[in-house]
């Protein structure tokens, strides 16, 4: 039987991993068996070591655990503790941290539910009339915010989507490769070289035309009307050598 394995990537940090181990080994968090936890933690890091680069945070916590363990192995200091020498037992400190961390883990799950629910609720764009009215005022530029810029762009694109709703256009899908080739020949006349695949599918409304366009591009390339090259995973198109003669 294949054993279920977990990787370090599933954890958001050493505390997350420790909580997982505590849960898996059914340890009592409020009366934590440190030996077992330390043993498990080391075993786990050893197991994933070959596959993953272990972040320094995991090793840092490991060092703290080992220090705790080594102290336990040493004979207790006979000198009585003075009151202001008091230090929180590292075990208590760890348990306190684990409990606090668990709190935030739980609450973030709750927040995520709210988040997902809110994602389903859509807003209505501000009316253009307002945008125009506001423009009549004098514009005084103050410090801009990058995320404002991103949001503004997103809004534009969303609006663009609204104004160009997807509608099945069956007539378009019947476009032949030859017809599409002719369209492309006309279209690329106006494009600045090198142009991208996106430039050539500007007018594509549905998947059918997309496929025909792709085939037409191959056809044009075969006819030497279109050439392309790769640069960083991007395809750059140019008009082919035969382009001027053909049109």
């Amino acid at each position: 039987m294949q054993k279920f394995t977990v990787t370090l990537e599933q954890f958001t940090g050493p505390l997350d991993l420790m909580l997982h181990l505590i849960k898996e080994k059914k340890l009592d968090l409020f009366d934590l068996a440190m030996d077992v936890l330390i043993e498990q933690y080391i075993q786990y890091l050893n197991a994933v070591e070959n596959k993953l680069e272990i972040a320094s945070e995991y090793l840092y916590e490991l060092a703290a655990l080992l220090e705790y363990k080594s102290k336990k192995c040493l004979p207790a200091d006979p000198k009585p503790l003075e009151v202001n020498d008091y230090e929180e037992d590292p075990k208590d400190a760890l348990v306190r941290r684990l409990i606090e961390y668990q709190q935030f883990k739980d609450i973030s799950q709750l927040l995520n539910e709210r988040f997902l629910e809110r994602q389903k609720q859509l807003e209505k764009p501000i009316e253009r009339q307002i945008i125009q009215l506001a423009d009549d005022e004098n514009i005084r530029f103050t410090q801009g915010n990058q995320s404002d810029l991103l949001k503004a762009m997103q809004k534009c694109l969303e609006r663009f989507n609204y104004t160009h709703p997807m509608q099945v256009k069956i007539t378009k899908t019947e476009l032949s490769i030859d017809d599409r080739s002719d369209q492309l020949i006309a279209m690329i006349m106006n494009l600045v070289e090198p142009f991208s695949f996106d430039d050539m599918i500007q007018d594509v409304q549905d998947r059918g035309v997309l496929i025909v366009t792709f085939l037409a591009i191959l056809e044009l390339n075969r006819r030497n009307l279109l050439s392309f090259s790769f640069n960083d995973l991007e395809v750059h198109f140019k008009r082919g050598d035969a382009y001027g003669y053909n049109t």
């Binding site: 209505k124 009215l133 991103l150 503004a152 609204y162 997807m166 494009l191 996106d198």
Partner: protein, 181 residues
């Protein structure tokens, strides 16, 4: 929570804002006949005429949308006057964003994306030194190309355009969806 069919229709029309939504689109989305939906819409048109509603439902060439009632406009105007533009206006931001992400770009292309004319806005932004002309496009009429300036980068605390936050890609997704739905 479950909501009624009328509520769903109301919600859809709401989301589409000024663009409105056609009876055909509603019919397809709800998988209900156009006549059936038209009846509900007719009813809604009447309900929204109530003096207790601040906007109404209208249809223009079988495209339905909500528009605010005339009585609201004066207040809207007042809010805008009171608020003044302490920051870049929304349309200035949008225009700048399009240029920043798509430069060099022609006025026509910007207008295509924004859906509104922007000749005045481009003049204003140029006057403010936030954009500048960057030669001319090869396309018909050789329209002027625009690009953003260092001033713009400075305003948005950007070292270079490479630092612009990444844009999720909408358009490609939208073209693929429907045929195989």
């Amino acid at each position: 929570m479950d909501i009624t069919l009328k509520a769903i229709i109301e919600g859809i029309i709401f989301v589409f804002g000024e663009e409105g939504i056609s009876l055909m689109q509603l019919s397809e989305a709800l998988d209900l006949g156009e006549d059936y939906i038209r009846n509900i819409l007719d009813e809604m048109v009447k309900e929204y005429q109530s003096e207790d509603r601040g906007f109404e439902l209208i249809s223009v060439q079988d495209r339905y949308k909500f528009i605010s009632k005339a009585a609201v406009h004066d207040y809207v105007q007042r809010i805008i006057t009171l608020t003044k533009s302490r920051q870049l206006s929304q349309s200035a931001l949008e225009t700048l964003a399009i240029i920043a992400y798509k430069q060099p770009i022609t006025r026509m292309e910007i207008e295509e994306i924004r859906g509104v004319g922007c000749e005045m806005m481009l003049k204003k932004l140029q006057a403010q030194d936030l954009i500048r002309e960057a030669g001319r496009s090869e396309s018909a009429g050789r329209p002027i190309l625009y690009e953003i300036t260092e001033e713009f980068l400075d305003l948005f605390k950007l070292m270079s355009l490479n630092e612009l936050p990444n844009l999720p890609n909408y358009q490609e997704e939208s073209s693929e969806h429907q045929l195989f739905e």
